[in-house]
Structure formats: structure tokens, C-alpha cells
């Protein structure tokens, strides 16, 4: 049981160490930075698409990119992720193409999840299990998934992401407690963005930190600067390696801040001050990383500008392509309810087909 009382930060230090002292190569840092930029650029586009009425509902990642990218960058492709609904940076870091995320959000004909549900992303090819909207319900499932790795002796791990609000649910406590008994290879990552819609984390729990909750289950918990991609990466890398080698489950609390609204149907002005938001704007994870890279001569101003321009152009081209695609056939509604439809469902499909035919006739 280690860690929870310390706040781990690199970029938050008055004089952050040099990349060489951290053992981080330029290539990795630039990959990390590009992913942060890409996440922000795509996030903005998705928000815009929602405003245009093309996307039903969208939960922004703004401000939380470092916690997502930094941790996911330490995963291996064979590791499995159980996200909640906000982890755009995780998907991109796992190598999910922008086009696929857009297909998902816009429910085009190529939507890998066939329009059954919104917002959430998942794809077995990238070892991402689609998130459930009911908060925290993925947590015990991730524990079971990891347990199967242990039973079969595979050196892979499961990582589950969830918010501070999720830690109030039984699923969180019951899942982590179960994990503390069977010790499967799992890491719990709480993206503590300090709000569950309008409810501040101080109204979720009387405990001073989320990380300390690990102690009660006999596990280690780490409290990390979630607006620091480098700290998130370094902590995650060492935790993941330890867990992959048979170490106990670990809880990581990434302390970050949701700069945007909860979702596109939320108005944060109702429950928090502009001052507070400004305070966190000044700790913008991307700006922090940018100034670090520039101050350490890893990247120049011009290079940064070129990167943003390249990413913006890439995203906007992909958006154009996705918008031109047709939507899904209505019959998808009946797919995947069971491996084989029941006789009753088959009958209803037939009825639905007739309904569609009539619709078409009536529309001429």
C-alpha cells in the first residue's frame, strides 16, 4: 500500500527536470504532444458537429487530454481498455483512426457500433470495450476481464477509466473490493475532473482524496497531476509494468479539471464561477506541455504552429468525408439483440419490414 498522500507532478514543478533526466526521448514526447493536439482538435470538431445537429449529444474532453493521453500511451496494444464516455484521448492514443471515431459519432453506414448507442466508443480490434452510459457499471466487468487473463496466465492487463462521480457507486467499491481478493491484472484510473455534472467532488465523498480509497481495500493508490501528460505517462508506465508482472491491482487518481460543459445539454455557469474556470485555464494541459517542450528546446514555435495546422487540416478533411457518407439502414435496430433472433423477434422484424415498406410507399 503506497502512494496516496503524495501529489505526483513533473510539469507542475517550479523547475521541471530535463527530458534526458526523465529518460524520455524526443520522439516519444512529440508523439505525446501530437496526440494532445489531435484530441483537442477533434474534440472541438465533434462539439461543432453536435451544435450543427449532426451528433445527438457530446461529452467534451477539454482540459482532460493529458490524463487520457499520458496514461494510454503506456499501454500495449494487447492490453484492454474499459473506458467511460469521455475518453477521446484514450481512443486516439490507442491508434483508432479519426475516421472511425467520426463514423461512430455521426452514425454513418460504417459506424462500428451500428448506431445502437451514442457517444461511447469501442472496437474489439483496438481492445476497447464500449462503455456503458450508466456510470461505473464497467468497473466490475473490467475486473472479470482481467481475471480471465490471470486464469489463462496471459501477461496482459485491463485498465478501466471512470470519473470522480463514479466512485460513489457500489459498482466501484464492489469491483475494487473483488479485485483486492483475487488480484487480477487491473488498473483503476479515476479521471477526477472535480465535477459530476454540477456536483463538486467534495459532495461525492468526505475523503480528502480518491487515491486513499485504495488503502481500505489493501491496495496502492497514486494521486497524480492529471494536467501533466508526462507525470501521467511515467506513473502509468511503472504501474502497468508492475501489474503486468503479477503485481496487485492499483488505483490511480488523475487530478484534472473539466474545462467545458459536462455534455452539450449542460450549462456550467449555473454551478461554478468563472474565476475557478480561469484558474484551471491557466493550467491547461496542452499549453503546459507546449511551454515545456519549447523551453527545453524539444520543439520550436514554428514547428508547433505547423503541427496545429497539419492536425486541423487532417481533422477537417476527415469530417468532410464522414459527413458525405450515408446513414445506417433501419433494420440494424434488430441486429445483435441475440446471437440468433428469437422466434418472437423474427416476427417483429417482419412486421417492421412491412412498416418500412408502407413508409416508403406513403413517402412516394
Amino acid at each position: 500500500m503506497r502512494g496516496w498522500w503524495e501529489f505526483i507532478t513533473i510539469l507542475g514543478k517550479r523547475r521541471p527536470p530535463d527530458p534526458e533526466d526523465l529518460g524520455l526521448e524526443r520522439e516519444l514526447l512529440m508523439r505525446m504532444y501530437r496526440l494532445l493536439v489531435l484530441t483537442r482538435a477533434l474534440d472541438r470538431y465533434l462539439l461543432r458537429l453536435q451544435r450543427m445537429g449532426k451528433v445527438a449529444l457530446y461529452a467534451e474532453s477539454l482540459g482532460e487530454e493529458a490524463a487520457m493521453v499520458g496514461s494510454a500511451l503506456a499501454l500495449r496494444p494487447e492490453d484492454v481498455v474499459f473506458p467511460s464516455y469521455r475518453e477521446l484521448g484514450v481512443y486516439l492514443t490507442r491508434g483508432v483512426p479519426i475516421s472511425e471515431i467520426l463514423d461512430r459519432q455521426l452514425n454513418t453506414v460504417d459506424d462500428p457500433l451500428k448506431g445502437h448507442e451514442f457517444a461511447v466508443f469501442g472496437d474489439s480490434r483496438f481492445n476497447i470495450v464500449p462503455a456503458p452510459t450508466p456510470v461505473a457499471t464497467q468497473i466490475p466487468v473490467a475486473v472479470g476481464y482481467a481475471l480471465a487473463f490471470k486464469i489463462r496466465g496471459e501477461r496482459r492487463l485491463a485498465v478501466t477509466y471512470f470519473g470522480d462521480g463514479a466512485t460513489s457507486k457500489g459498482d466501484f467499491h464492489e469491483g475494487i473490493n473483488f479485485a483486492s481478493v483475487y488480484k487480477p491484472p487491473i488498473v483503476f484510473i479515476c479521471l477526477n475532473n472535480q465535477y459530476a455534472i454540477s456536483t463538486h467532488v467534495s459532495r461525492q465523498t468526505g475523503a480528502a482524496t480518491i487515491a486513499q480509497k485504495a488503502i481500505a481495500y489493501g491496495l496502492s493508490g497514486y494521486r497524480v497531476d492529471g494536467n501533466d501528460a508526462i507525470a501521467m505517462y511515467l506513473v502509468s508506465r511503472s504501474v502497468f509494468e508492475e501489474v503486468r508482472e503479477g503485481g496487485d491491482p492499483v488505483l490511480i487518481e488523475a487530478v484534472t479539471y473539466r474545462l467545458g460543459a459536462h455534455t452539450t445539454s449542460d450549462d456550467p455557469k449555473r454551478y461554478r464561477s468563472e474565476e475557478e474556470v480561469r484558474y484551471w485555464m491557466e493550467r491547461d494541459p496542452i499549453e503546459r506541455m507546449r511551454s515545456y517542450l519549447i523551453s527545453k528546446n524539444v520543439m520550436g514555435e514554428e514547428e508547433d504552429k505547423a503541427l496545429w495546422a497539419e492536425v486541423e487540416a487532417l481533422v477537417s478533411a476527415e469530417v468532410e468525408k464522414a459527413l458525405a457518407k450515408p446513414g445506417l439502414d433501419p433494420m440494424v435496430i434488430f441486429e445483435d439483440v441475440y446471437a440468433e433472433p428469437t422466434p418472437q423477434l423474427r416476427e417483429q422484424m417482419e412486421e417492421f419490414r412491412q412498416q418500412l415498406r408502407m413508409e416508403r410507399v406513403m413517402r412516394g
Binding site: 445527438a56 449529444l57 452514425n107 451500428k114 448506431g115 445502437h116 448507442e117 451514442f118 457517444a119 456503458p132 452510459t133 450508466p134 456510470v135 461505473a136 462521480g165 463514479a166 460513489s168 457507486k169 457500489g170 459498482d171 459530476a196 455534472i197 454540477s198 456536483t199 459532495r203 461525492q204 465523498t205 445539454s265 449542460d266 449555473r270 454551478y271 446513414g327 445506417l328 433501419p330 440494424v332 435496430i333 434488430f334 439483440v337 428469437t342 418472437q344 423477434l345 417483429q348 417492421f352 412498416q355 418500412l356 408502407m358 413508409e359 406513403m362
Partner: protein, 324 residues
């Protein structure tokens, strides 16, 4: 009378009861500072303070369990579950504790609480912001289940629910919250739980429904009227207990019942109504009992207008029934 939306009528009922009865408290996710994600509890925190309006941690199980404890100890809690899709986190509390509390305690302790939850689809809400889970609860003795469809009924039934000595699950069709306005009686106004509303009189076919599909049923009735079919529409308003008198009176008149709800067909509440009609009124029937419902799939994000029992689907069922 004041013109109110459905959401404002809920707000008005809560405020009225909180002013009248100090035991009434409100609790749920984002109900305080934020006034509820649908704004149904707007302004209550300012007027009644944090002892009576509680923003809770994100835990449906605790919200329902705590509400039960408050109720058992002399309060009149109104708990909000942000979407009825999330009520399942509190399913154990609701089904094992709340519903059976009076029976288990042989009346020593009661559970006079209300659980409000937005229900139903039609708002592009996808799989988990659109469900109609009422029949899980109508299949559980000890719970009352209410689904108003107009602002006036929302006010009158919510006040009755708060005053009821048993637990009431109060489902609010979310697509009506802000899309609907009407004159709502000011001040004291109650609608009894267990009484249906005759929405529209007719003589050929009876449509029995509740919640947001009341409006689709009326639209369908107006359409088929042009073809010479006269349709009666009954809004049940309350499912447990339900108003058998209203159903049987109408079925005796028309002999052609069509039951409509958004929830999936298999084991939906319509099955209960259909079975009771078959048991008691089979000799009044001129046509088979028909159901127009959601299909037996999870609620889909795409093409939800086709999934829902919309006007066209209801009109077709009415025509089919009338053709017998």
C-alpha cells in the same frame, strides 16, 4: 389558472407541497444548485435551503435507500432519479426494501416516499436516456406506479403521490417536459391515483395508453376519423392501481381495444391489460386485442422514430381492428 409547461408543473407541485408540509424534502443528483437536469427542481434550494433540498452523491442505491430511511422516520422524501434508465442501480433497494417495507414490518413502519424519474424516448437520447422500465415495477407488489401526460395531471398526481402513505414511482415522460403548455389550476389541486382520463370519446375503437403516446394516439385517432372510424382514447395515468372501470366501460362500448406503450412488447404493461380484458370482457370483443409497442430490442439510438409506436403505427392498428 396559470400556463405551465410539464416541467414547471412538477416544480409547482414540489414547491406547493414543501410550503405546506415541512416533512417534504427533495434529494437526488444535481437537484439543488443546478435545479435538476430538466429544471424540475429549479429554485427549490434557494427557497427551502440545503436541509430540505439535497444534492446527493452519484448513487441511485443510496438515494433510494436513504429516501426510505427518511420516510420511515417521519419525513416525506421526493427522490429524483436523473433518468429512469439509471434506476436499476437502486433496484435492490426499491424491490427488496421499499416495496416490501410495509409488509415486512406488518405496518410498524411505512414507506411514504416518491421516486420521480424521467421516462421514455423521442429526445435522441439513445439506449440509456430513453427506456420505459415501468413493468419491472408494476410486477412488484407494494409499489404504486404513476405516469402523467399533461401538466395539470403532473401537478395533481404528484401532490397526491407525496400525500400517499405508500411508495409511488412517478414516471415523467421527458419528451413532454418543455414541449407542452397548458392552463394548470393554481394552489391546492389533486388528481386521485388510480383514475384514468378519458381523452377523447369515440364509438368504434378504444385506444388504451399512458404517457407521451397519448398524443400519438390522439393524432392517429384524428387521422382515421377522416376515414370514418371513431376512436376513444383513454389515458391510464396510473398503472398501479389502474382504472379497470374506465377500460371495461369503453371496451363494452367499442369491442375493439388497441393498447399502446413505448416499452417493449413482451411482458410490457399492455400484456396485463390485454389479459384482464380477455379474462373479463371476452364476450364484448369484436376484434382481437392489439398492441402497438416498442419492439423487443434495447432502445436504439438511430431511427428511433420508427422504433416508437408513432402515429402511423397506431393508425394502422386502429384500421386493422376496425376492419374486423
Amino acid at each position: 389558472m396559470t400556463v405551465l409547461t410539464f416541467a414547471k408543473a412538477i416544480n409547482e407541485a414540489l414547491r406547493y407541497e414543501m410550503r405546506r408540509d415541512e416533512r417534504v424534502v427533495v434529494l437526488g443528483e444535481d437537484v439543488g444548485v443546478n435545479g435538476g437536469v430538466f429544471r424540475c427542481t429549479e429554485g427549490l434550494l434557494v427557497e427551502f435551503g440545503p436541509k430540505r433540498v439535497m444534492d446527493t452523491p452519484l448513487s441511485e442505491s443510496a438515494i433510494i435507500g436513504v429516501a426510505l430511511g427518511l420516510a420511515a422516520n417521519g419525513m416525506r422524501p421526493v427522490a429524483e432519479i436523473q433518468f429512469s434508465d439509471f434506476i436499476f442501480g437502486g433496484f435492490e433497494q426499491l424491490v427488496s426494501n421499499v416495496a416490501k417495507f410495509r409488509y415486512r414490518n406488518a405496518g410498524h413502519y411505512a414507506a411514504p416516499l416518491v421516486i420521480r424519474a424521467p421516462v421514455g424516448g423521442g429526445v435522441r437520447g439513445g439506449m440509456y436516456h430513453s427506456q420505459s422500465p415501468e413493468s419491472y415495477f408494476t410486477n412488484t407488489a407494494g409499489l404504486k406506479v404513476v405516469v402523467p401526460s399533461t401538466p395539470s395531471d403532473a401537478k395533481g398526481l404528484l401532490i397526491s403521490a407525496i400525500r400517499d402513505d405508500d411508495p409511488v414511482i412517478f414516471f415523467e415522460p421527458k419528451r413532454l417536459y418543455h414541449s407542452l403548455k397548458e392552463d394548470v389550476p393554481d394552489g391546492e389541486y389533486t388528481v386521485p391515483i388510480g383514475k384514468a382520463r378519458l381523452v377523447r370519446e369515440g364509438s368504434d375503437v378504444t385506444v388504451i395508453t399512458y404517457g407521451a403516446t397519448v398524443y400519438d394516439a390522439v393524432a392517429a385517432a384524428e387521422e382515421v376519423e377522416k376515414e370514418g372510424i371513431s376512436v376513444e382514447v383513454i389515458d391510464l395515468r396510473s398503472l398501479i392501481p389502474y382504472d379497470w372501470e374506465a377500460i371495461s366501460r369503453s371496451v363494452r362500448k367499442t369491442g375493439r381495444p388497441v393498447i399502446v406503450h413505448e416499452a417493449q412488447k413482451t411482458s410490457g404493461f399492455g400484456a396485463e391489460i390485454a389479459a384482464t380484458i380477455a379474462e373479463r370482457e371476452i364476450y364484448s370483443l369484436e376484434a382481437p386485442i392489439l398492441r402497438v409497442t416498442g419492439y423487443d430490442t434495447p432502445y436504439p439510438l438511430v431511427h428511433e422514430h420508427l422504433y416508437l409506436p408513432n402515429k402511423d403505427r397506431i393508425a394502422n392498428a386502429i384500421r386493422k381492428s376496425a376492419a374486423h
